[in-house]
Symmetry: C2
Subunit: 304 residues, 2 copies
């Protein structure tokens, strides 16, 4: 029984008000895989890199993440993204996007991944997400899908097709409004849940996240931080922590989904404390337990 994560594995160059990096390892599959690895021990990643990725693959191996599904294209170059965050850290300029080998990504599922029970379909073309589902021998117990406004603009029909086959959709508030045509997030959730997903998670960055499903709503805060060094990958770390917790707990219900969101939020809060994946490579179990306690103090109250 495993958790399979399909997502980009890439190089990023990041500039924030706190500094800038050279080419460092990034990608949604990387952030989500690292985050999930702290909660569940059978994490398997599907992605594609170029030959230039080289020994960077050890980032996964050192966390016990299986990489048989990360295809290495001989002579190819890995996906590269460069971006610069503004002072408010909520907006950024993309300075470079070089798709490279990701442009022809055709996800292959190794036989050893066919025990997939939990599947995270990272933000890629909806067609890749559909192909992945088609190539699995068995329907996973839980499918979480991440997407973005770009696919709503250029591949809406494919996106609607894949939404019928998933359990949890994660998008941000602007994307929920775009996908539904409704400004109220309550109404937006109603429209989106009618498209297929059983649960909808609306990510609101520094304002936390909302979970809709089973006729209920849960609001989780983000941890207020003195410094956000680098927001890159926070949403992916959130998704990885979320599905990693559910893979560990194994029972899918609204209460466990609430807890999964708290774990996802905790992993995201670590992610932004340093540049790139640095913080997600060095976490200790105690730190995670302490961070979860912070979330309890932050949001729990006791009425008389």
């Amino acid at each position: 029984m495993s958790l399979v994560i399909v997502g980009s594995v890439a190089f990023d160059a990041i500039e924030t008000p706190f500094g800038k990096t050279d080419k460092i390892v990034g990608g949604a599959g990387t952030y989500a895989g690292l985050a999930a690895s702290y909660l569940f021990d059978q994490v398997k990643v599907i992605g594609v890199v170029g030959e230039d990725f080289g020994a960077n693959i050890d980032i996964f191996k050192s966390r016990g993440i299986q990489t048989e599904g990360i295809e290495i294209i001989p002579g190819g170059k890995s996906f590269f993204w460069a971006g610069k965050y503004h002072n408010d850290m909520n907006s950024r300029d993309t300075l470079a996007t070089e798709l490279n080998v990701l442009g022809d990504f055709d996800p292959k599922i190794p036989a050893s991944y066919q025990d997939c029970e939990y599947l995270l379909l990272g933000n890629l073309t909806p067609q890749i997400q559909i192909d992945t589902l088609n190539r699995l021998d068995n329907k996973p117990k839980l499918v979480v899908l991440d997407t973005m406004n770009f696919w709503m603009d250029v591949a809406l029909e494919d996106l609607k097709t894949v939404l019928k086959r998933i359990d949890v959709l994660t998008i941000n508030d602007a994307e929920a409004r775009q996908l539904s045509g409704e400004y109220s997030l309550v109404k937006a959730a109603e429209v989106i849940l009618a498209m297929g997903p059983k649960y909808l998670i609306i990510k609101k960055g520094e304002h936390g996240a909302l979970l809709f499903g089973e006729g209920q709503i849960f609001a989780a805060p983000a941890l207020p931080l003195a410094d956000v060094f680098d927001p890159t990958g926070a949403g992916d770390a959130f998704a990885g922590g979320f599905i990693g917790y559910l893979a560990k707990i194994k029972t899918i219900n609204f209460n466990n989904m609430k807890n999964a969101i708290i774990y996802g939020s905790a992993l995201a809060s670590f992610c932004v404390e340093k540049f790139g994946t640095e913080r997600l490579q060095e976490l200790h179990k105690d730190e995670i337990a302490d961070r979860i306690k912070q979330f309890v103090h932050l949001s729990q109250f006791q009425l008389d």
Copy 2:
């Protein structure tokens, strides 16, 4: 022992995507007073109106709110504000502001108000807030102050003076950033708490509220609503519910402050369901208890 609220008592004309009103009763003192009256029975309002306010004073009396401190200026006209909300309900245009009798407001404290233990200084000039404190025979047990960016622009020194004499400051996130010069709300809170208040509440509208103090942070969600009919007065209803709860509970500590924020948020959530003060005039205890339960379901989780 009483809760005294100093604030505007006024007429508003409001336009939202859901409709528009004629001149209806509004004002921070009105919204806060009504909200507090559901939690505490000794609510006393200080304000000023013109002769045109007439029988509208019954809005207070029907909720058991004492009005001896609402001065009626013979021949005067009440403060009038007209505004139009945009589709997102988060921004609005002011169409008219007629200060009228509020322009010369000099708060007078009736002898019957000198038992004040809980004081809410609504958003007025910092000088009026200082005068009110000076005219009370005894220092109240708890002083909550609301203010806005305008006073930071035109009366910053007076504002800093009054901040040294209060316990709780309520402002929104943009105002916290302006007052502190810090973008991070954690750092902003540190700077602002060093200015005098023991507690800082940062109101974030649809994203809820943050409480800082005693080295702790609490994040409360706002209730996600399908329709926000009219946001006018929500922040004042929040403040009234907040201090009303504390006046009832009587013990000031961080845990009770958390609960007070939940009660304030609940009252604010009712406020926006209808135009103006309509919803705050007709609440039943059961509705409030049910709404509090909704906040519990919305934000509380149970880890294994």
